[in-house]
């Protein structure tokens, strides 16, 4: 028998990666999925859920600096910080992407924002063991505050890089000015964390939140000086 009669067996195709795995391994697929409007709101819901869970895990890891009561508080607050910041920055994501030359629809913008949120969450979960290690092995508040800030910056940086990789689809080719949106998201996140303080200290007499207004620069200035 010749070779034509017995062709080599075809490789078994790998199971298609889910939307979450695709965030890490196949951004081009995410780009195509958003560009082709493949259930953008459904995908957005999945990514939002992933982001919320990941942020909660990271919150626990960081919160263990102050013991289990703080960890429980941060498990709720950290996802809130991320989600509320995204919500506030949603209009600017829509406008910035359109101005950049990506005429997204509102559902597509939801999907893009949620994908960034999930990406940040995944990076934070990856860094959670590092955060936990430092959180439980020091009593220096300033150090943990600085570390958390640094990890958050790393996560936002990766989300920016993720969006850059979406250029695989023609819709995402033009991204001029979109990096500015990440800078705004970062500022809003810092102010949101200030708004939801205390994040690292045990809840005070008035509960989990404080009504006193404060600008994030003042708050982080105090935190880096070691004040709770």
């Amino acid at each position: 028998m010749n070779a034509t009669a017995n062709p080599p067996p075809l490789p078994i195709p790998a199971p298609p990666a889910g939307l979450v795995a695709a965030l890490l391994k196949d951004p081009a697929r995410i780009a195509e999925s958003i560009a082709n409007r493949e259930r953008p709101l459904g995908a957005a819901a999945q990514w939002l859920a992933v982001g919320l869970v990941c942020d909660a895990v990271f919150g626990i890891a960081v919160g263990l600096f102050g013991g289990w009561p703080v960890a429980a508080m941060d498990a709720a607050k950290m996802p809130l910080v991320g989600f509320c910041s995204l919500l506030l920055c949603f209009p600017s994501l829509y406008v910035f992407s359109c101005v950049a030359g990506m005429p997204l629809t509102l559902p597509q913008t939801c999907a893009l924002g949620s994908a960034c949120f999930a990406m940040m969450g995944l990076i934070l979960v990856g860094l959670a063991p590092v955060a936990w290690l430092f959180a439980v092995s020091t009593s220096n508040l300033a150090f943990v505050a600085l570390l958390t800030l640094l990890l958050w910056l790393v996560a936002i940086g990766f989300a920016g890089r993720f969006v850059d990789k979406l250029r695989a689809a023609p819709l995402f080719q033009r991204q001029a000015g979109l990096k500015l949106w990440f800078a705004i998201l970062l500022l809003v996140t810092l102010q949101m964390a200030t708004c939801m303080r205390p994040m690292l200290a045990p809840p005070g007499e008035r509960g989990w939140f404080t009504s006193e207004k404060q600008f994030f620069l003042a708050h982080f200035g105090h935190a880096l000086n070691g004040a709770p």
Partner: protein, 243 residues
């Protein structure tokens, strides 16, 4: 024409947001009509008014109302003051732009800036409502005032940057190949900044210092100019380290 039917006067700001290429193509083909300009003017006015009301909202509702009127005046007034100069520079540099094209190009950039301002209204409002105390010691109030000033400078810079980026892209398509685009763009930008700074000086206060009463114009609005202030007060202060 099909373009005119599809994108009537009311939708020009939307066209600029969702399909800027189409706007520049129409500008290139001299297909834009003067009757479409009011839609841009109204949009810029509304966007600036909304942002202006948030900008001054922390100080008092009265100042918010004042700034809602003054911010559109600042942007549209600056564009009106430099319109003839822009056209003359464009003609001198051999751009081939008509007066109508220069006006539409500038207003298009401002409309894009207006979209950015609109998109940033929730962010500005959030910072104002959660970050700044309305009462406190003079030092706390000064810090609050400086913080809000810095926040707005950052947000307005974003709007200006993206608006001018769009203008630069558009001009690249509109001008003749031999026209020095960087020179033209630089001259327009310099004129806008020169006039804009002075007009903002006359129309101040915008943010509203907690140490001065709320007024529509400062009493010394026409006594000095912005550049006198910078060269006689700000620069000496910085050079001497505030001593």
């Amino acid at each position: 024409m099909a373009g005119r039917t599809r994108n009537g006067m009311k939708t020009l700001p939307i066209v600029l947001l969702k399909n800027r290429e189409e706007f520049w193509s129409r500008a290139e083909a001299q297909d834009l009509r003067w009757s479409e300009l009011p839609s841009l003017v109204v949009f810029i006015g509304l966007a600036c008014a909304l942002y202006g009301s948030v900008l001054a909202g922390w100080r008092s509702p009265r100042l918010a109302l004042y700034v809602a009127a003054k911010l559109p005046l600042l942007f549209l007034g600056t564009a009106a003051f430099v319109a003839v100069f822009n056209w003359m520079v464009a003609a001198l540099l051999g751009s081939g732009l008509s007066f109508k094209s220069t006006v539409f190009a500038v207003f298009a950039a401002m409309a894009i800036g207006g979209w950015i301002l609109l998109a940033l209204v929730p962010v500005a409002f959030f910072f104002l409502s959660t970050g700044l105390a309305y009462a406190g010691t003079p030092a706390e109030l000064r810090f609050a005032h400086n913080s809000i000033l810095m926040t707005h400078v950052v947000l307005l810079a974003c709007a200006g940057l993206l608006g001018h980026l769009a203008l630069h892209q558009g001009l690249r398509r509109l001008v003749r190949p031999r026209c020095p685009l960087a020179g033209l763009f630089g001259a327009w930008l310099a004129a806008f900044a020169l006039v804009g700074c002075q007009l903002s000086w006359i129309l101040r206060p915008f943010v509203g210092s907690p140490f001065y009463p709320v007024v529509f114009f400062r009493p010394d609005a026409f006594e000095r100019n912005f550049y006198e202030f910078v060269f006689t007060e700000v620069l000496p202060f910085l050079l001497t380290g505030g001593t």
